[in-house]
């Protein structure tokens, strides 16, 4: 090492100095999106303190820096999972079958906003939104249609649902039951990450505390009855999309994870009972090495936190498994075909970062909902990386790069500093309630925007290399009659179902929310709401009806905004 240091000094004085005098570098200061200073050259000196066994280790072993599986993609490629869903259940069902036929290996369901916010399609606030951002699901009848002829024991399904997660999961279980699929065979993920909804994305319904109860109900239920289900996907994606830097995304996501673990521990559950099924969801943006380093740092930091803070014993509890999606906010409406290249680079970073599943965005998403052509190109991008690039043939191929390892160390360190700041504020719930996290994210978003406007940050086709041509992409046009059709379907359902049973089931949910104190101790033992929700869903109570009962009992969250 001393020889390297000496030779480096030599090189700086004899070679570098002259070159810099003749030809200064492009910028005075190089930094990535996380504001980490990027050095000119990385050498063994930059990772002098790196202890291979302690900091990197072997894939599948603590601290999982090199990956969660011993063979990674040599054994099995990542799951190619495109987020999709639009219109009504019938139309989405067709799209899923199309995607499966194209070689997609898992489903990812997008729900429309009324469903996500717990309103039926006939609600006043649902006007204009039904079937737009995803599929409209009012009742189990819609869910049966959504998965018609798709065997739930053969596909894994990821569902982006948060506030009404318990209800939607209950519907999925019921569909499985009707297909003759046992609970233990169901594989997939529910997002169920309510805390990030208060930071970004915004599909909360209830205040944080009762929301946390619903989240933990789902996790507890799944830990008992759904051994192959990921009951939560702790998501940095939306925080990043809202403007956070890569380090902030990493820190806030893991801090949310810690908050869920704490909440579950308060139910006297052992982390090793539920943490092995935790999954994560990150964005992957343009700065290639920053992103790869982020994923590696995420795995190492989570493993250490679980071991040190929660004394987890099962290695699976320490293993950070994640889904990645390319960055929607990095797409440009200008020259949309350029987005194919951005998506390729981002996807490459996700794979080199060791993702378990991946969604590649479509080139036209800054313009409208993606067309079928664009979705196909996005999926093909993953397939080309998987089958033609050769990067899936060895485990964690970038490891040992002086730059990457040094960056991985810095990302981990900075994220931990943030987590400690959040600890000091009393944890994530308090940090969110005080607006600390939201302000941090907003500031980053604003600073980046300013940089782009000043051209300190180049966005090809937007602030540099512009062309005047209008894009001629074919856009997806949704059937305008969807809303009417969905409302009609809902009306027919309400006439057909057993009204008395629905009434009773809804009342049972109300009672379960506020159970009577136990006779002897006088203590209110909180009841897990999954069983009563399953009952209600089974008699075709709607998402809106069940959420209305909960709105009455839990109240509704109103954000306080400061800009």
């Amino acid at each position: 090492m001393d020889a390297v240091k000496k030779e480096k000094k030599n090189w700086e004085e004899k070679v570098l100095k002259k070159v810099l005098e003749k030809r200064p570098e492009r910028k005075k200061y190089f930094e990535n999106y996380s504001k980490i200073k990027i050095g000119r050259l990385y050498t063994p000196e930059d990772i002098e303190d790196l202890d291979y066994l302690k900091d990197l280790g072997f894939p599948g072993n603590f601290p999982f820096t090199r990956g969660v599986q011993p063979t990674m993609y040599r054994g099995k490629l990542w799951t190619m999972r495109q987020y999709a869903g639009m219109g009504d259940a019938e139309e989405s069902n067709k799209r899923y079958k199309y995607l499966l036929k194209q070689g997609q290996t898992g489903l990812s369901v997008a729900f429309d906003l009324p469903t996500q916010i717990g309103y039926d399609s006939d609600h006043q606030l649902a006007i204009g939104e039904v079937g737009k951002a995803g599929v409209a699901i009012d009742s189990l009848a819609d869910m049966e249609l959504l998965f018609k002829d798709i065997p739930l024991d053969k596909v894994s399904t990821s569902m982006t649902i948060n506030a009404p997660c318990a209800i939607i999961l209950a519907m999925y279980i019921m569909v499985g039951e009707k297909q003759g699929v046992n609970l233990s065979q169901l594989t997939g993920t529910t997002q169920n990450d309510i805390l990030k909804e208060y930071i970004a994305r915004g599909t909360y319904i209830f205040p944080p505390l009762p929301s946390l109860r619903l989240t933990t109900d789902v996790i507890e239920y799944a830990s008992k009855y759904l051994p192959r289900w990921n009951p939560i996907s702790i998501s940095g994606y939306h925080i990043r999309e809202a403007g956070a830097t890569a380090v902030q995304e990493l820190a806030f996501t893991l801090a949310n994870g810690l908050a869920y673990i704490k909440a579950l521990k308060m139910r006297n559950l052992n982390p090793d009972d539920f943490a092995p099924r935790f999954s994560f969801f990150f964005a992957v943006h343009n700065n290639f090495f920053e992103e790869v380093a982020k994923f590696r740092a995420a795995r190492r930091l989570w493993a250490r936190l679980m071991k040190e803070r929660f004394k987890a014993k099962n290695p699976k509890s320490m293993m950070l498994r994640f889904h990645a999606q390319t960055g929607g906010a990095t797409l440009t409406a200008q020259q949309p075909d350029n987005n194919i290249v951005r998506v390729t680079l981002q996807a490459l970073a996700a794979v080199l970062g060791g993702t378990q599943s991946l969604h590649t965005n479509s080139r036209d998403e800054a313009l409208a909902l993606p067309s079928e052509d664009s979705v196909r190109i996005a999926l093909r991008t993953q397939q080309i990386i998987a089958y033609e690039s050769g990067i899936s043939d060895t485990v964690d191929p970038l490891a040992g790069s002086y730059y990457l390892e040094s960056l991985t160390n810095q990302m981990e360190k900075q994220a931990l500093t943030y987590i400690k700041r959040i600890d000091k504020l009393g944890g994530m719930l308090q940090a969110i309630e005080r607006g600390f996290i939201q302000r941090e994210v907003q500031n980053s978003a604003y600073l980046l925007q300013k940089k782009i406007e000043k051209e300190e940050e180049v966005v090809v086709g937007l602030n540099r290399f512009r062309s005047e041509e209008e894009s001629k992409l074919e856009k997806l046009i949704l059937d305008p009659k969807i809303e009417e059709r969905q409302k009609k379907r809902l009306k027919e359902l309400k006439n057909k179902r057993n009204k008395e049973k629905v009434k009773k089931a809804l009342n049972d949910i109300k009672k379960a929310i506020h159970p009577a104190p136990a006779r002897r101790s006088g203590v209110h033992k909180q009841e897990n709401l999954m069983p009563v929700i399953l009952e209600a869903v089974g008699v075709y109570a709607t998402v809106g009806e069940i959420c209305e009962v909960m709105r009455q009992e839990f109240g509704e969250y109103r954000e306080s905004v400061s800009i």
Partner: protein, 136 residues
């Protein structure tokens, strides 16, 4: 004393994508305007009430859910009915270019798509509204 230009940035519809709305709100404020931001998930009635009560000169609507053709007309009509017909209305978000003529014909002055510079929005407002808050 000259009055500052008063702006309401509002998010109709159910989507929670508020990055753009917040960035614009802050940029307008930094440009010397008085800015009120409604927060997400506002109904047409709530937005119009705020616009009237706060006596704003212009109203910026941000939406990414795809419900703009349903919600913008509702807001424009209600605003006119409540005596806010002089309020300058502009919009932004994911709004397909095919929909823009229809929105303009009903009284939305301009739609700013993805990639817009905040300076462009500031300039637009200043060319439309003089420093006394009157439409030019």
């Amino acid at each position: 004393m000259r009055k500052k230009i008063r702006v309401l940035i509002a998010k109709p519809g159910l989507d929670g994508h508020d990055r753009g709305a917040k960035v614009v709100a802050r940029a307008l404020r930094d440009a010397g305007m008085e800015v009120i931001y409604t927060g997400i998930r506002q109904t047409a009635e709530q937005i119009v009430n705020t616009a009237i009560q706060e006596d704003v000169d212009c109203l910026g609507l941000s939406i990414l859910s795809g419900a703009h053709l349903k919600l913008f007309p509702k807001i424009v009509k209600l605003l006119k009915k409540r005596g806010g017909k002089n309020i300058l209305i502009f919009g932004g978000g994911i709004i397909p270019s095919e929909d823009i003529p229809e929105l303009k014909s009903m009284g939305v002055s301009k739609i700013f798509g993805p990639g817009t510079k905040t300076q462009g929005i500031i300039d637009f407002i200043k060319t439309q509204i003089d420093a006394d808050g009157k439409r030019r």
